[in-house]
Structures are given as C-alpha cells and as structure tokens.
C-alpha cells in the first residue's frame, strides 16, 4: 500500500475505533458501493440519451426537416437577403445598407402610426385584463378562498391560459370581425389567465404577520385582505403587470399577422407581395417598438422595486433622454 492510501486511515486513527483492524475493509466496501452507484447512474444516463435522441429524430421526421431543402433553396433565400438588406454605397465607395429605402417605406405607409395601433392593442388589452386578473388571481389564492373552492378560480385561469391569445382572437371574430378591436379583446382575455396566475403566485409569498396585525385592529375580512395581504404584494403586482405589458405588445404584433391590424398586418401584406425590403423596414419598426416598451417597463420595475428613493419619478422623466443616449452609445 502506498503512503497516499494510508493517509486517510491515519486521520481516522485520531478517532479511535473499537474495530480498528477492519478500517481498510470498510473503505473497500464503501468504494465498491460508490462505484456501483456510479455505474448505475451512467447506465441510466446512456439509456435516457438514447430515448431522447430517438424522440428528437422522430420529431424532425414529423416536421419534414431536411438539410437538402435548405441547400436547395439557399440561392433563393440569398436573393431575398439581398432585398432584405438593400445595398447602397457610402460616399460612393463604402458598401452600406440602404436605410433610405427603409425610411421611404416607413414614411409612405406611416409605420410609426401602425406601431402606435399595435402598442394601443397591447396596452388597452392589458388594462382591460387587469380587473379580471385581480379578481381571479386574488380569489384563486388559498389564503383568500378556502381550499377546494379556490380551484374554481385557478381552474378558470388554467382554461384561459390553455387557449393561446391568437386562438382567442379567432374565437372573438364573430364578435368584432377581423380587427384591432377583436385582437384587443383577445389580449385582455389572455391577460386574465396569465397575470391572474402570477398574482396568485405572488400572494403565496405573503407573510402572516401583517395580516394578523390588521385583523387585530378589528378590521373586517375584506379590509384585512386588501390592507393585510394586497398591500404586501403591491410592488410585485405592478412589476408583473409591466412584464405582461411587454409580452402583450409582442402578442399584438403577431395579432396583426392574422389580420388584427397594426404593424403586424403591414408585415403580413408585404410578405404576401414579396416586398422583402419593405418587410425589413417593418421589422425594424417592430424592433424599436418592442425594445422601447421593454426599456420603459424595466425602468419602472427597477424604480418601484429598488430602494432608490433618490431617483424620483420627475428625475426619471427629466433624465430620460440622457440615459437613453448613454444606453445606446456606451
């Protein structure tokens, strides 16, 4: 036996054992056990990766994925790429993307106006969904509604969530036609399910102490719920609502693709006309829209979350251009 093997046994000897002689035997046994467990783990990992690989290839076959097709159509995509990014030359020498042709289309079709329509769909849908989300979310919490009954509200939210916003829009078409109005209704419905669920989750984290404190003042049940529970989750509720607003703005873009109006609709029509330059101009405006909404949402969230009382709301507004510039160039 080498010195290295002896070292652990030396340490053990500081803790005298009655069966000192069998220490090495014990170690051998432990090593055998560990090796066995390890082998079983490796075996399981191997079987699992086989199953995973099989499922992956089945899925690829199901969707008809083929590398040959990509190669075959590559030239076509390449020419489309050329139109997506039209070339011009800077100062007559440097090749550069022709932003002028984008700008032309943006002005011609008033894409910023269309972006405002999309933003309005997302914003109005969110606001319309908030009361329902608040009601379902609060009543879905076990701490407000006793156990089996809270599942009535949780279940309602699950059903709403199980149907994607786009499908809700299809359902509402008889109500409002293929229009931004229908899309807004769909977004509002979707918000009730998603935001409500987030509200319920936030309520699980509520502490008992403040609830008890409000109860002890002799407040009634509803006052206890509002002041003891909801006041504790005020900040997370606002933060989650801002997060859902971000998501709803993106959903509002996709609503346009099925005819719901706004900027997504322009993207869809330009695609069917094979106007790839116009499509890219539209995508750029979509990018600007979504990023701005996320930017504002994140500022608001960090403002209400953070303890940074120093950064007052006024300061937030006044210093906005500065910060925007900094975040763009630095």
């Amino acid at each position: 036996m080498s010195e290295r093997d002896d070292a652990p046994t030396d340490d053990e000897s500081s803790n005298p054992r009655p069966d000192g002689g069998t220490v090495t035997g014990n170690l051998e046994g432990a090593l055998r056990d560990i090796t066995l467990t390890k082998r079983i783990k490796w075996g399981m990992a191997f079987v699992l990766s086989l199953v995973f690989g099989y499922l992956f290839f089945q899925a690829l076959a199901e969707v008809g994925f083929s590398v040959a097709e990509i190669l075959y159509y590559w030239p076509e995509f390449q020419s489309a790429l050329g139109e997506f990014f039209p070339r011009t030359s800077l100062f007559g020498v440097l090749p550069f993307v022709d932003f002028g042709s984008y700008w032309q289309f943006i002005q011609e079709r008033n894409l910023f106006g269309a972006a405002i329509v999309t933003l309005a769909m997302g914003f109005a849908g969110t606001v319309l969904g908030i009361p329902g989300a608040l009601l379902l979310g609060v009543l879905g919490s076990e701490r407000v509604t006793p156990y089996p009954f809270n599942f009535i509200f949780r279940g309602t939210m699950s059903v709403i969530r199980a149907i994607p916003a786009l499908v809700w829009a299809l359902i509402y078409i008889p109500l409002g036609g293929v229009s931004p109005f229908t899309a807004t209704l769909a977004i509002g419905t979707d918000t009730m399910g998603n935001l409500g669920r987030l509200f319920t989750d936030a309520l699980e984290e509520v502490e008992d102490g403040p609830i008890e404190a409000i109860e002890s003042t002799g407040a009634n049940r509803r006052q206890t719920v509002v002041f003891g529970m909801l006041s504790q989750v005020f900040t997370p509720f606002i933060a989650w609502t801002m997060y859902i607003l971000e998501i709803n703005t993106r959903i509002a873009v996709t609503m346009g693709l099925i005819g719901g109006g706004g900027i997504g609709y322009i993207l869809q029509t330009q695609r069917s006309l094979f106007k790839y330059t116009n499509m890219m101009a539209t995508i750029l405006v979509i990018f600007l829209l979504v990023v701005s909404v996320e930017f504002v949402s994140q500022r608001v969230r960090s403002y209400i979350r953070g303890e940074e009382e120093g950064l007052s709301f006024l300061k937030l507004v006044v210093e906005f251009p500065q910060r925007m510039a900094r975040s763009l160039w630095e």
């Binding site: 403040p210 008890e212 404190a213 003042t217 006052q223 002041f227 006041s231 504790q232 900040t235």
Partner: protein, 251 residues
C-alpha cells in the same frame, strides 16, 4: 378605562399545555409587565387576550364583556412590528381606524377628519410627526415599532397589549420604544399588558408584574415584591453564572 379579568384560562396545543389554569385581574389604567422564559406561554396569553387565539377553556372579560374574537377595543403591538412597508407612517397609523371606516372609503383612503387628526396625534405621541409622510419600509426598526404603537393608539383601545415589543431592537431603541409605550398609555389612561424578557427593562417600566412558567402563573405582584429570588424562580435553572462557567469550561 377598563378592567381585564382572566378566569381559569387554559390553552392546549395537542399534548402541550401552553396555558394552565391562569387567573388574574388587571385594574383600570394599570401598566403590567408579563415575564417568563421563551415558551412559557406569554405570547399565547396575549393572543388569547387579543382574540386571535381561542382558549381551550376559561374566560376572558374586558369590562365584563367576554372576548370572542379580535376586538377593536383591544390593540396589539407585535415583536416584528408588522407594519405595512408599502404605506407611509401616516397610512399605517390610519389602518388602526379601519374598524370604524366603511370598506369602500377605506379602499380609496377617504378617512374622516377626526380619524386623520387621531392618526397625526398618535404619530406625535411616538415622536414621528415629522416623518408622517415617509414610507415605513425605509425606516429603522425602532421607528417602525413606533409606527406600530401609533397604529394601536389610533384604534382607540381600552386595552393595549404588547408582545415582546422591543425584543428585536438594540438596547437604546428598546429603551426609547418602551418609554413611548408607557407615556402613550399614561397619556390615554390605557390598561397595558406588555411581555418582556429583559428583566432590567421590566423593572424600569413595570408597575405590576405577572410571570408565567410552563404555562402556569407563578407570580403576580408589584415592583417591591419582585425580588431576586422570585426572578430566579421565574427563570428557573437558567442562571447566568452557570452559563458563564459553562463557556469557560469549553474555552
């Protein structure tokens, strides 16, 4: 303003007797301190008095009215203060007036002028009038506890209960907060029962003393009766000297 009568109060949690046949009376306007080790049943007693916990047997009467649930004439100050961090000190003080404000008015913060003045006067009592507008989340532990006292005062209670009100504060803040509780009780002639585990603070602020040990009332008397022997009996085998010797032996 009120007399508290506790008769044969017993509370069991499963096999554990948290309170065992406890009886006492607190006279009008008395400032009583509840002593005892952790787990002696102090919190349970206070929670029974407040109506948050229902006793297994026995009776509590406040001004001859039995306690059956949380009552607006019994106010409680909690160890962890449990103020709402989201609200200002003023907003928190006003939650003491919820029981006399209709739901929708309380929802939009439309309180009556007397209640608003009451909240400000309570904040003045605890020395926080100049911080009325400040969010309690950004206040120190001692200040938050004073907001908790203000909330209790706005309730306009007959009986003020305090469950280890200074246990999570540093010694200086503990002294200040106890001072505010006593002066508030004096000013408004409130009967008070506060549990404390610091014997020195208890001696400094208490007039009347009640002590629990393993759920039983082992002492009921006034300051002059609270001798060192009695304190030893309340705190049992835990003697500081033993602890000191114990640590030395290990070192």
């Amino acid at each position: 303003m009120s007399t508290i009568e506790v008769r044969n109060l017993t509370k069991t949690f499963g096999d554990v007797r948290a309170l065992d046949d406890v009886s006492f009376t607190i006279e009008d306007g008395e400032f009583a301190v509840l002593l005892g080790q952790s787990g002696a049943g102090k919190s349970t007693l206070l929670r029974c008095l407040n109506g948050i916990t229902k006793p297994t047997s026995g009776e509590i009467r406040i001004n001859d009215e039995p306690v059956r649930g949380p009552r607006n004439d019994v106010a409680m100050i909690f160890q962890q203060h449990y103020v709402l961090g989201q609200l200002s000190a003023y907003g928190n003080a006003l939650t003491g007036a919820l029981h006399r404000t209709p739901f929708f008015r309380s929802l939009v913060g439309w309180h009556s002028r007397p209640d608003k003045m009451e909240a400000l006067s309570a904040l003045e009592t605890v020395g926080l009038l100049d911080k009325a507008d400040q969010r309690t989340r950004n206040m120190s532990g001692g200040q938050q506890q004073r907001v908790g006292i203000a909330r209790a005062l706005v309730q306009q209670p007959n009986l003020l209960l305090a469950d280890e009100p200074v246990a999570s504060l540093d010694p200086a803040s503990a002294e200040t907060v106890m001072g505010y509780i006593r002066s508030a009780a004096k000013e408004r002639d409130l009967s008070t029962l506060a549990s404390l585990h610091q014997v020195n603070l208890a001696r400094e602020f208490g007039e009347r003393f009640l002590a629990l040990r393993d759920g039983e009332l082992v002492f009921d008397g006034y300051r002059e009766d609270l001798t060192v022997d009695i304190i030893d009996r309340i705190y049992g085998d835990v003697q500081t000297q033993d602890i000191r010797e114990g640590t030395e032996a290990h070192a």
